[in-house]
Symmetry: D2
Subunit: 303 residues, 4 copies
């Protein structure tokens, strides 16, 4: 199994069936440097416009429609001392009439201390003088080419992954995407130094990273929506608006996963989910919202 240091020559604002930038074997590892959400590199030079420029696509040998592409997020290292956010909550996350009283949305700069692994406002706001956050890296946007030869904006997401902006998609997490195109055609980019639930200011702390992922094909996996696994949990993702529909997708996928892989029928899976399920709101900002349906592994026995 090979490790590829992948240096893109172009970036993409869509996830789709584009010509591969790299071909790798099943199980290979990729190290690559991502741009920030507006297309600046680690030196602050704009390489391309937004939204969310992607590195890729990476063609994984042996991946066919119906398979899953397993993506192990091995490491994420920030490559810049600054990130940016928008200064005000997005209009769609507060009561409509309250939008009238919002100040304008402006860009705000954050300082990333790559030694201390912390993130803070470059110019602390009044009342936030001591607001220093631990670095909590995550991939905002990644996935595989969607079905039908589609190419879809990196502003949004779907069954194929995309701009999910979910804070648990960081180092140590594994994600499975349903493969729809030969070679899977994997893309990634738009990494955040930290982000709250919902990405409610429309950004995390947007910056550049060196990301290490390992890509493996699982044959005939038959997932419809992305699956994930962290140290403690398994999870399924639903991407849609409104949140209600995202939750329906994620819950249906989890119910199917528990019945196919964990030896539970629908009643037993319902008993389990009813009392222990956890829902995370990935984003409520992008065109499609993201919900994760999460179950602690301690309750489960894989069959």
């Amino acid at each position: 199994m090979t490790t590829h240091y992948f240096v893109p020559t172009t970036y993409h604002n869509v996830i789709g069936s584009l010509p591969p930038a790299l071909r790798i074997a099943d199980g290979d590892t990729i190290i690559t440097q991502t741009l920030d959400a507006e297309g600046h590199d680690k030196d602050g030079i704009k390489q391309i416009s937004g939204p969310n420029p992607m590195n890729g696509p990476i063609f994984v040998e042996g991946a066919d429609p119906g398979d899953a592409l397993k993506v192990e997020i091995v490491a994420m290292t920030p490559t810049r001392d600054t990130g940016f956010t928008r200064s005000v909550v997005a209009a769609n996350v507060i009561d409509p009439e309250a939008v009238r009283d919002l100040p304008p949305r402006e860009m705000t700069i954050w300082a990333i201390d790559r030694g201390a692994l912390t993130v803070r406002l470059s110019e602390p706001a009044s009342g936030l003088e001591g607001f220093v956050l631990p670095l909590a890296p995550m991939i905002g946007c990644f996935g595989v080419a969607p079905a039908l030869g589609q190419a879809i904006s990196t502003a949004t997401s779907g069954e194929y992954g995309g701009n999910m902006d979910y804070r648990r998609f960081g180092p140590g997490t594994t994600v499975w995407f349903p493969v729809s195109a030969p070679g899977a055609l994997f893309f990634l980019g738009d990494c955040h130094a930290v982000q709250g639930d919902g990405e409610i200011v429309g950004t995390g702390v947007e910056t550049t990273f060196e990301v290490t992922v390992r890509l493996t094909v699982e044959k005939a996996a038959r997932l419809v929506w992305p699956h994930g696994e962290t140290a403690d949990d398994i999870l399924t993702i639903g991407n849609a608006r409104p949140l209600d529909q995202a939750l329906q997708h994620a819950t249906t996928e989890m119910l199917n996963w528990l019945t196919s892989d964990y030896g539970l029928d629908k009643r037993a899976a319902s008993h389990l989910l009813g009392q222990v399920v956890r829902y995370d709101i990935g984003n409520v900002f992008d065109p499609a919202y993201t919900i994760a349906c999460r179950v602690a592994k301690k309750w489960l026995t894989k069959r």
Copy 2:
């Protein structure tokens, strides 16, 4: 400050401006025994039909419209060895076409071990032989009389509280409700031995409890939606459909709370929420869904 052992003579399926069952002083403590969601008492005898029979209303001296009623959940002790759930996830939490394949919803009995403080299925389902949950008591439905003299079914919720079915409303949590009627008129009932996020089978483990709460008036509090505080967090509640609107209510309320009580302007509050907010889905089953917007107290300094 007095402790009242409150034994209801009638129960209510609405929260509203009904004649007080008890009058107490500001700061008094109440101990009372609740029925389960279908109206059975600790001996399994049906006292009233559902939905969610309430103990109350309790008139708190000195509470006026515009105030907040502070409810400290001091203790919750189960009073029965059994609880019940519905056996299958609710139709509205999965993809519509997948509903065709759901088995029927039936009542399922759970055993509550009051010594070990655990909950398990009375007849373990295949694959769930070792599924033993720690008791995690919570109040499913509580609140104060809504505005305009309304009386609203305990199946649903609103600004006044109600059937929020949020798992963090357990012992150690404090909740503030916006007072709309003289005396606040506090109701409570519908307690659960444990419940996952969303109450997605339409129930937690429904059973009877002895509940101890302390009720205190805070004058001129001007909250619109319920506030809460746990050991680690402050939180605001939004109740509405779809989840998107519940989230808007909760986020607007938190933004207002941070600016009124925590010395942050809207930009600073946005910086904070954008990177550290957590959302919990209380319920996605009742007519109004519930979302909590939660912020860790470690990031906050009260002014």
Copy 3:
């Protein structure tokens, strides 16, 4: 069958199980004068605060839970020369970020010509100099006491009717409400001189009316949501948020009506609805939105 000229001594901001203001026989006719949405009478004198003060409740002899109350809207005559609207579209009907650019919402006065039966702005806005609308009276808010002894704000609506703000609820239309309380307890008020779909400025042209309705009991009708009939159509009402859920309620009710009363099974009813159904958006402003599912009578044969 008697005609009652009903002069309320008090008005109500809720629809619920309040003491009857009038008792009538099954089939009697009521003539009554309504206040405007903010509680002014035909002389412009404020009698009560809003929202939507109701005349009633009227107890109809013989009406029991499970029955339907048939309400024939016989006549509506405006009783004042002015009405009012809000000057700007509501924040919730436009894109959230566009709300930042809305002017403030102010009260606007309209002139009602009771001879010519027209409505126009008292001070024409630039570009609307010739904007003269035909009077198109409708009842904004009416219905019967909801189940469980509830009393619900006239700002919203539900299975029992309420503030539906649907423009086809005018003279010549018949509406059936599901009875939940003995005597049905009928309320009405909040009439509009004219209104577009959705009530998107938050008002129609709000004014006072003399309204004539005939109230008849239909036994064991088993409707869940209101039914209606106009000269050309039958229709069912769904009240909920989001619009998607209101549409689900209205469509389910129509499907049930077609199968129970029109000799169609679900497949035949689906064939019919799929190709000829019409949906109207009653309101998208109130806490619960309203959708009507409408079918032309020319396609139907009552069994």
Copy 4:
């Protein structure tokens, strides 16, 4: 100005920046034969799989991003004697728990009488013996290449048009799409012999047509969402889920259109819309729902 008889050699399941199948001059007319939604031609031979195979793309000389492509639907002639529908309402348009009782969704054949211009079930269902509908042709799916080089499934829709399934998109209607790619790249297909509001069985009467459209470039038109004009009305389209968001898009676009082209400020436009707007539900079946915001031309004076 030329008329092109366009015979595709391939069809597409996406709308996007594909190589043009035909290049035409600004103002030219196209006559072309469309497949049905599942890819059958007028002889019933399957040419390609679904969803909704498109004829195109047609490159229109002079069309640049920022322009509008004006599409006049000149004529639609059915080319086959049969169409098909699904036999049961879609699960997402009825109450979730009611889905359990739906019969299976099957294909149903309809007879199209091309002389009489009528449509009827091939095997009449009981109770629908006399159910004969006038032919009411419409284009289910058409539009231009979306921004960013995207290629999006013809199952859904967006700002660029797509699968809107709106019954007023028939002969005599003109539609304007916002151009995002050089040449606009126009696609069309998926025509229906008739369809109710909402496309609630998931289909209209799906069949093949000969369609005549005239394509004209309007420079610097700056629309965000599609515009339309019928004999009586102007209209704007919003495509999104839930319906609430589709309505927000359509209403915002209409508000902008009234202020840019009809001499009204936002207050005057609000006065107008508030009292005369009509909303149509295009579809509530596809991934993005469609709402039209419609205003009668009799109320408007173009500036």
